[in-house]
């Protein structure tokens, strides 16, 4: 069991607002200033996306941000360079979300070590399955104090959710519906039932809902039973429309 900023944050008596953005987007040097502005606007936690050429689990908005970031010259090494001094000014939990291939090429252990040195608290690697993680990488991640976060969906059987809960350390990322990432404006009956079903499982890890959270209404619906929610595509859309200066206003519209 690791104790890092994620665990401390989750113990606070409040609903967690977490924001996803892609490193090196819209501009190659925007990574740090976006993180700073998100913290200043009162966001509780940040997911920094590592750009990847083939982001399978993402919808068009995040795909395009990833493609643009790569065009901007982003690499995994450059993300770490940009984040080198981040802990001098930022103290909220920082999570890296990235696909497994770039991490493999960086070297999984080197990557973990670099995360620890940088002050990263956790990882979300959507295409690293829980079984492979448990067998090959869990000890390594724990050695570097990294919480690894797994996804569950409305189709995940209860038994597997319990397995994921047993391997997880931090929170469980509840994908709101059967879909890739992308903003939705409301949640239906089906989602409400899913939120209830998971709530009633009384898992050891708190749950944070992601995919499809876009505004105050969806944030409130998602966090009625869950501990928090993650906004990605809607935030990137706001960056597209209003730029970095629009960040405080965007966060104010959520809560």
């Amino acid at each position: 069991m690791t104790t890092n900023r994620i665990h401390k944050k989750l113990q606070e008596d409040k609903k967690i607002l977490s924001i996803y953005f892609t490193a090196g987007y819209p501009g190659p040097e925007d990574t740090v200033s976006i993180i700073q502005s998100l913290q200043d606007s009162g966001v509780d936690m940040i997911e920094i996306g590592l750009p990847f050429s083939d982001p399978l689990a993402d919808g068009p908005t995040i795909q395009e941000s990833s493609t643009k970031a790569l065009k901007n010259g982003m690499t995994t090494a450059r993300v770490f360079e940009q984040l080198r001094d981040i802990r001098k000014t930022v103290d909220i939990p920082l999570i890296i979300m990235g696909y497994f291939n770039p991490i493999m090429q960086y070297g999984v252990e080197d990557f973990c070590k670099k995360c620890a040195d940088t002050g990263i608290d956790g990882l979300i690697i959507p295409d690293l399955p829980v079984d492979v993680y448990e067998e090959e990488y869990k000890d390594m991640f724990e050695k570097y104090g990294l919480a690894n976060i797994f996804l569950i969906t409305p189709q995940t059987p209860d038994e597997r959710i319990r397995f994921i809960d047993s391997v997880s350390d931090g929170f469980i990322y509840m994908v709101s519906s059967a879909s890739v990432t992308g903003a939705k404006s409301t949640f239906g009956e089906e989602q409400q039932q899913y939120f209830e079903r998971i709530h009633n499982l009384r898992l050891k890890n708190p749950q944070i809902v992601g995919f499809g959270i876009s505004n105050e209404e969806t944030f409130r619906a998602a966090t009625h039973l869950a501990k928090g929610a993650i906004i990605g595509s809607a935030f990137i859309k706001s960056l597209n429309d209003k730029g970095k200066d629009g960040i405080p206003d965007f966060i104010r519209t959520i809560r």
Binding site: Q63, L70, Q105
Partner: protein, 410 residues
């Protein structure tokens, strides 16, 4: 005497014990596995649990065999190419997958998978396609079974493969352009996977090659293994022996090659030659020779050799043949390559085009440009006069006419 006990074995047989077959956990040596987002887990897991059982059912095998015979036109001939053999001083046999319905080996797999989809209660089919051959083969079986069909195809490929796009539409499929990334095959595959994530209950994804998360590579290989099963019987008849000295096939993702090699994998005296597309040359920056240019990584849910930047971004390959420009190879082939069981060769655009035209002139057969890559090895490999060399002629050249016309100024 008691009657022999028949133990049901899946299509392709109870292999899986030899060093080159898939392990229970979905690996070929260090390659394979299922590196998929959790959203795909229920679908892939259902398939993993059931595929061998379904493929062992007598009624399934019977339906598969019957359709291959009556609809596809199998067995495909094993043709002794007399004039080519004379020219190269060896015995060359061509396995005529080009004579299959829809013009390539792809249909063996789509017939198998559509029957599998029905057994799993799925009502909607998705597929990816590059050149359009797999898309046409999928649209065909969906028409045959009356199922909804969506084919993802890169926007750039849609523009350069107009006749196959029209065929798919005529067959009732919806062709959806993949506009992300490089807008070609790998992006079409990404889009198909995203569709599957969005439609987890009613949809089956018919992958077109021996790629993807376990159990796809093994399932596709087993459906294609009919190719080597027939070769054995046909060679027995023609040469008095089941095993050739060489089997040769081209590799995009590796499905025709997997089917051609399958029943020879454990027969170490049969030499295996896999032919990749070198494009404009291995060092030209425009190539698809994954075994030379690739490194271990993860693409479309499996660990294999793939072309990528040092940073792990998947790169866009190039070949004159749309069916060979995939940045990876199936995990079985990655293992055959690194274990040394197969010899990998690469053939340039020019060599392939020349070999294609040569087959037209010497045997009266217009091959697909993919298959021409396999034929081109006779230009740079020597064989003994009594060697029996079987080459998979994976498809016919109708779809490639405009490329042949442009290349030769016909």
């Amino acid at each position: 005497m008691s009657a022999p006990v028949k133990i049901a074995s899946p299509i392709g047989g109870n292999a899986g014990k030899g060093a080159y077959h898939v392990s229970e956990r979905g690996y070929y040596g260090e390659f394979g596995g299922a590196f998929i987002p959790e959203m795909l887990y229920p679908n892939v897991e259902e398939l993993r649990r059931k595929y061998l059982e379904v493929m062992s059912e007598p009624s399934f095998k019977q339906e598969f065999d019957q359709l291959l015979k009556d609809y596809v036109g199998r067995p495909s001939p094993l043709y002794f190419a007399k004039r080519m053999s004379e020219k190269y001083g060896t015995k060359i046999y061509l396995k005529r997958e080009d004579l299959n319905h829809t013009g390539a080996h792809k249909i063996n797999n789509t017939i198998g998978q559509i029957l599998m989809a029905r057994r799993l209660g799925k009502t909607r089919i998705i597929a990816e396609t590059g050149a359009g051959q797999h898309g046409v083969a999928t649209a065909t079986v969906c028409a045959l079974m009356g199922m909804d069909c969506v084919v993802y195809m890169g926007e750039i490929d849609i523009a350069r493969q107009a006749p196959n796009v029209a065929r798919m539409k005529m067959l009732g499929a919806e062709v959806r352009p993949a506009r992300s990334g490089s807008k070609t095959l790998k992006d079409a595959t990404n889009e198909a996977i995203r569709d599957w994530i969005n439609n987890p209950v009613d949809t089956h994804y018919i992958i077109g090659s021996a790629i993807g998360p376990h159990p796809y590579p093994d399932m596709v290989t087993r459906f294609q293994s009919v190719i080597s099963e027939e070769i054995k019987a046909q060679l027995q008849e023609k040469e008095g022996r089941e095993n050739p000295d060489y089997v040769v096939a081209c590799i995009g993702g590796g499905s025709n090659a997997a089917g051609t090699f399958y029943h020879f994998l454990d027969e170490e005296q049969v030499k295996i030659i896999a032919v990749e597309a070198a494009g404009k040359g291995i060092d030209s920056g425009e190539s698809a020779a994954t075994s030379v240019l690739g490194h271990q990584g993860i693409i479309h849910g499996c660990k294999t050799l793939l072309m990528q930047t040092p940073d792990g971004q998947i790169t866009e390959p190039y070949s004159i043949s749309a069916g060979l420009d995939y940045p990876g190879v199936g995990p079985m082939h990655a293992h055959l390559c690194t274990s040394g069981r197969a010899t990998f060769k690469s053939i340039t655009d020019d060599e392939a085009m020349k070999a294609g035209l040569e087959l037209c002139k010497t045997e009266g057969i217009i091959p697909a440009i993919e298959s021409s890559h396999a034929l081109a090895i006779f230009g740079n490999t020597s064989f003994k006069s009594d060697d029996v060399v079987v080459v998979a002629l994976s498809g016919r050249g109708d779809k490639d006419l405009s490329t042949y016309i442009d290349h030769f100024g016909l």
